[in-house]
């Protein structure tokens, strides 16, 4: 039997397994394609602490120098730090060397434009065309530029956060915070930021060695050690980052994960209180966010799924805050990127400002129950599944920009084909868990029936 192919080249970058599909030859070609696309100029590169990171970095440097670029190498740091530095240095773009939450054997390149945003789908397609055509800019030795290494990138990131959000007020009781950085890119900068904000920090998994102490996604089931540490240390809050420190999850003072959907909700609660304005999220985000926006009389805009779609809409609407339900908080006053560091600062400010515990804060807005399920479905049947949903639920309000989302009286559900696997995802949210489950089950059966027909 053939091995399952691991290489994935798409508009969100190139991703593969080290020692197998993600070879240095492939990486250097991608770097050349990107260097050719953005032209000669300064590019920022940074990486997460995966074991293959050095190899990947050298392959990328070789390709970028060959294409005539100048490189600012900011070392091991969160992806949002790379994005911040691109804008700070007015660079032509950047490359983040990280496979975010994928397991240790993976690595990937993510391409960043001059605004510090991931390449839009249109730009990414143009870059991929150059990659496939293979006709890269190659400068002569005498025209080649160099690599400048800098270690101050994360300090600059902290500085930018404190400039906008200030340290926590010293008059208040010091917050006790436990941070689980997953031995990832946030391992060093995370505790440093929390200290600078004025919190008492207890850190776990902060050795950036590329060895994963837990699965990298900050899902409730992966946070047992953090929950325990919060209780043991009688902390006010626990934070969990993923490997590249863009996503953030919160554990309450009772040692319970609040669910990564509520990271953005808490952050928005503080951000909108500080300064009301438009909010942007994708259409699978919890309705709690809508409730919060309503509370502050702010408009909420829902986009297709994908970080790029959210950031593009945020720019268009001049949003105050935005993000995704997976723990990605985007706060443009500091950084136009999913940024766990910014997320932590916003939520700690919320705690000191309200003087409330996390558990109590969750009681101040309506909360919903969200359930997710996936159904195996041949790619060629996805369209007929979606058509069936549109027909059968025509009586309700429907949003079909990305799959089909149906607004029911007691909640909503979303049916959507995966971009990467032959499956259909079904997500349902309602006020109670029972309602959500009923909603999900009814849709689940319809989809199953449609596929077997």
């Amino acid at each position: 039997m053939r091995a399952i192919p691991t290489l994935k080249i798409s508009i969100s970058g190139v991703r593969g397994v080290i020692g197998e599909s993600l070879t240095p030859e492939l990486l250097t070609r991608f770097a050349q394609a990107f260097g050719t696309y953005v032209g000669p100029g300064t590019l920022v590169i940074g990486r997460d602490p995966r074991t293959s990171g050095e190899m990947v970095k050298q392959a990328v440097i070789g390709g970028l120098l060959s294409a005539g670029c100048r490189i600012l190498d900011i070392g091991i740091c969160p992806v949002p730090t790379v994005q911040l530095l691109v804008r700070h240095h007015r660079a032509r773009g950047g490359i983040a060397l990280t496979a975010s939450h994928n397991p240790a054997e993976w690595n990937a390149l993510k391409f960043i434009d001059a605004n510090g945003l991931f390449l839009s789908s249109g730009n990414a397609r143009e870059m991929l065309d150059i990659y496939h055509q293979g006709d890269y800019t190659r400068v002569a030795g005498a025209e080649m530029r160099g690599v400048e290494e800098t270690s101050g990138a994360t300090d600059l990131h902290i500085e930018k956060i404190l400039e906008t959000l200030r340290p926590l007020p010293a008059s208040q009781k010091k917050l006790r915070v436990v941070l689980d950085a997953c031995n990832g890119a946030g391992s060093l900068v995370g505790p440093k930021l929390l200290n600078a904000l004025g919190a008492t920090v207890i850190s776990i998994n902060v050795t950036p060695n590329g060895l994963f102490p837990r699965p990298a996604e900050p899902l409730p089931e992966n946070l047992a050690a953090l929950c325990e540490a919060v209780l043991e240390n009688q902390a006010d809050i626990g934070f969990a980052q993923d490997m590249d420190a863009d996503r953030l999850a919160v554990v309450s003072e009772k040692g319970k994960p609040i669910g990564e959907d509520y990271t953005l909700v808490l952050a928005a609660l503080y951000a909108l209180g500080r300064e009301p304005g438009p909010v942007v999220a994708n259409l699978s985000t919890t309705s709690s966010l809508e409730a919060i926006a309503k509370q502050f009389s702010c408009p909420l805009f829902l986009t297709k799924i994908g970080e790029v779609n959210v950031t593009e809409e945020m720019q268009k609407q001049k949003a105050v805050i935005g993000g995704e339900g997976n723990g990605g908080v985007i706060y443009p006053r500091i950084n136009f990127a999913r940024d766990s560091l910014v997320g932590m600062a916003l939520i700690l400010h919320l705690l000191t400002e309200t003087g409330s515990r996390v558990t109590d804060l969750l009681e101040t807005f309506p909360r919903f129950s969200m359930i997710k399920e996936k159904i195996v479905c041949p790619s060629n049947q996805i369209a007929s599944v979606l058509k069936m949903i549109r027909r059968d639920y025509a009586a309700y309000r429907i949003d079909d920009r990305d799959g089909v989302k149906v607004m029911m009286p007691n909640g909503w559900f979303l049916v959507r084909g995966s971009n990467t696997e032959p499956i259909v995802r079904v997500i349902a949210e309602a006020e109670t868990e029972q309602d959500a489950r009923d909603l999900l089950v009814s849709v689940y059966h319809k989809v199953k029936e449609c596929i077997s027909r």
Binding site: M55, G63, S66, R138, G141, E143, N209
Partner: protein, 453 residues
């Protein structure tokens, strides 16, 4: 013509055209595979394309499971000495030696510090062409690059071999032209250790080559002026990576590069009789000097690996080539311009003589070197046609390397260059008239296709 030369001496090409990061990565991956991982040293000369090639080499080596030590900018012989010092498995020197600025190349060094021999070179090429390289998985790949400086160790070795006190006692004034190459880090320091007053020019690592990095009379005008203006006792010219040495006398006369080995041989044989190893295209002055002192000469194919192996086989006291490369076996079994300079200074100091006096005792011969650029696919057919033409006239061809013909008043050597797509013609006779006549004779027989001499 696209100049990429993949041969047993390594891979060499023009950056921005043929020597792409992909080719460099693949060759380094093949070398890492061939050496079966382990510790590999990497050094480079000062070419502006060095950082690009270095990054690509690092990526290829790391991906194939090697542990890498970066020696930074250093002469190739410094790297070769460091292989055993650092218990390494081999090394890659990134340098196109005496080739012009647009070129770069990889030279492959094995675990004893010598270049791969022709059979090993073939094995490496087979792996390169098959493209089936060892790929380290995430849990095996080396996480970081280490750094070492080999210069101090090289100087210590040199100090052990030569009579430092005798040279110091002479208080020599030495002018040196490092061509802004890797020798800038070694030679001025080494000469200071020898108590010389050093007049160094072109020893700035960050500047481009001020002239062709091939030490020949036509590139030594600046050095000659410094020798005269500074009243130096001798002038030394170095190539970009510390293999070849050119000499200027105290009167400012630049010597033919053929005389470097001749002078070293005379100094050496005068105090230590034995065998001298050189290649088939080097001046027969060596034979006359050896005869004078009762020594023997062994001739090999052109290329350092052949010289090194013959030195071992014949337990020789000296090796070298007409290009200005000299091997002093007590230092190491490979060309080393620092060792050659040490040998010559020691000889001058011990004999209490001036360099022009030694030159006068060397046999005076006339040599002509001509190069003919030929398309790669015609190189060997032209050589074959030449051989047939010569043999039809009843002459015997020595086929050790290319075609060498001994005639009554001199000899002719015709061969394909190892490093560039050209035919090299070398002729030597007692005087210039005879030499020109022999060169014309050879030209006529290199078929009428050969135009543009």
């Amino acid at each position: 013509m696209k100049p990429l030369k993949i041969g047993i001496t390594g891979v060499r090409g023009i950056v921005g055209e043929t020597l792409t990061p992909e080719v460099v990565i693949a060759f380094s991956g093949a070398f890492g595979t061939y050496m079966e991982g382990g510790r590999i040293l990497v050094g480079r000369d000062t070419r502006a394309s060095g950082p690009m090639v270095r990054a690509a080499v690092m990526a290829g080596l790391l991906a194939s499971g090697c542990e890498v030590i970066d020696l930074g900018i250093c002469p190739t012989p410094s790297l070769q000495l460091a292989v055993s010092w650092l218990s390494a498995n081999g090394g890659i020197s990134i340098t196109a030696g005496h080739n012009p600025v647009p070129w770069n190349a990889l030279k492959f060094v094995r675990s004893d510090g010598l270049y791969l021999n022709s059979m090993q070179g073939e094995e490496l090429l087979d792996i390169f062409h098959q493209g089936d390289f060892t790929r380290a998985t995430w849990d095996r790949i080396c996480r970081e690059i280490q750094y070492q400086d080999p210069i101090e160790h090289h100087i210590e070795r040199l100090k052990h071999v030569f009579d430092v006190e005798a040279i110091k006692a002479r208080g020599l004034k030495v002018a040196v032209d490092c061509c802004n190459g890797a020798c800038s880090r070694l030679i001025p320091r080494w000469l200071q250790e020898l108590g010389c007053e050093v007049l160094a020019i072109n020893n700035d690592l960050a500047s481009p080559f001020p002239h062709s990095p091939e030490p020949k009379p036509e590139t030594m005008a600046q050095l000659s002026a410094v020798v005269k203006a500074g009243h130096a006792d001798i002038g030394f010219a170095h190539d970009a990576d510390g293999e070849r040495l050119g000499i200027v006398t105290e009167s400012g006369q630049p010597l033919s590069e053929e005389l470097t080995l001749a002078m070293a041989a005379r100094i050496r044989l005068a105090c230590k009789p034995g065998t001298v190893v050189t290649n088939v295209s080097t001046s027969s002055a060596i034979d006359r000097i050896a005869a004078e002192f009762g020594g023997a000469v062994v001739r090999t194919q052109v290329g350092q690996a052949y010289i090194s192996e013959a030195i071992i086989e014949h337990n020789a006291i000296l090796g070298g080539e007409g290009s200005g490369g000299v091997t002093v076996p007590e230092v190491q079994l490979t060309h080393d311009s620092a060792a050659a300079a040490g040998l010559i200074l020691e000889g001058l100091a011990l004999a209490g003589r001036r360099v022009s006096e030694v030159v006068q005792e060397l046999p005076s011969l006339a040599m002509i070197k001509r190069n003919l650029a030929v398309e790669p696919n015609r190189l060997y057919s032209m050589l074959q046609a030449f051989r047939m033409a010569v043999e039809r006239e009843g002459l015997t061809c020595d086929l050790t390397d290319g075609i060498r013909v001994v005639l009554q008043d001199g000899w002719i050597h015709v061969r394909a260059s190892n490093t560039e797509s050209m035919i090299r013609l070398i002729v030597e006779a007692d005087n210039a008239t005879d030499a020109n006549r022999l060169a014309d004779w050879a030209r006529d027989r290199l078929t009428n296709q050969a135009r543009g001499w």
